[in-house]
Subunit: 205 residues, 2 copies
Amino acid sequence: MSSAEKTSLSDLQCLTPDQRWLKLWKVHWKRGDKTGDWTFASRKNPPMVATGKIEPDAVIVVPTWIERPDAPQSGEKKLVVTREFRIPLAGDYYGFPAGLIEKGQTPVQAAERELGEETGLKIVSVQKVSPPIFSSAGLTDESSVLVYCTVTGTPSKAGNEHSEDIDTLILGRRELEDLYHVRGRFEGARLSLKLWPVLDAWLAQ
Amino acid sequence: MSSAEKTSLSDLQCLTPDQRWLKLWKVHWKRGDKTGDWTFASRKNPPMVATGKIEPDAVIVVPTWIERPDAPQSGEKKLVVTREFRIPLAGDYYGFPAGLIEKGQTPVQAAERELGEETGLKIVSVQKVSPPIFSSAGLTDESSVLVYCTVTGTPSKAGNEHSEDIDTLILGRRELEDLYHVRGRFEGARLSLKLWPVLDAWLAQ
């Protein structure tokens, strides 16, 4: 028997009902003779604890850049990485184009929109799409879908939103190695948990 | 000029000072003529916004299981995956052994301790260690270090903590394929954002 069948949850309480984008919640848990309270953050209202439903909050685009969509094998394979000042990290963060999935959008539609808004690039083809996967299970019910695709075009900030100021970097192998090791021009960089394992696989090829 | 040099933060405010493990914070930001408030969750006190320091909160162990440490190349290569009911997800979560780094511990020391407590297994050798990488930059300043290692031993729950009830699975290629596609015995599973890209790279080998 898995522990899912043994744990019961009760007394879900929102600790910050006035916060619009992100709320802190507390819930009571009981498993056999063990019991306690758990505090977590959620963008969902009601959170997953109340619904049990797996619904992705966000999409993360893993974009391989190609110069010529008519000849995708020509030239060096490059990876698109975004650089953005992220407020919770108080510094420049390197990751992939990403954003919240809007109501009624599929993950691939959200990926096309976010890629366009954040980088000005366009999807040529989609290689694979992950299931919803969870950022940090003890801390939040946030989940994301990874969309691996090839993209093309010239970077532009024209579609950035009010709070955004996003630089688009199109990086080849040598630069990706420096980013992977957080060295050279990338010293002090804050790296995404999604980016690093992709770099690791990319550089092992 | 990167946006880090253009954004200023002020009026950091803790919205839930009475919460011990996880707090919600609000900070005011200003970049040129744009301005706003940002809400985020943090396990750190003070959070990264106040310190600017990159200090990993957690360690995540990526364990390849080998039967015989004296002959690591013999037998099928398997991956260790943990299954645990996670309260924020209201269900069974599949990921890697992980936990908070205690004061004074290196990430590798924390990996050895957490692996032992959660699975009863032992590290044979460490292959690579990531820099601190960030779970979800818009939502939290939480960062983790990935420790890729080979491990050996027989699973045990003897070291599980009060709130833990962790099953240790040692999975070969066919089972990892089912987990990757969330099918068969893994239907309805909540998958870790750290686990899926590792499965993706593993299955591409």
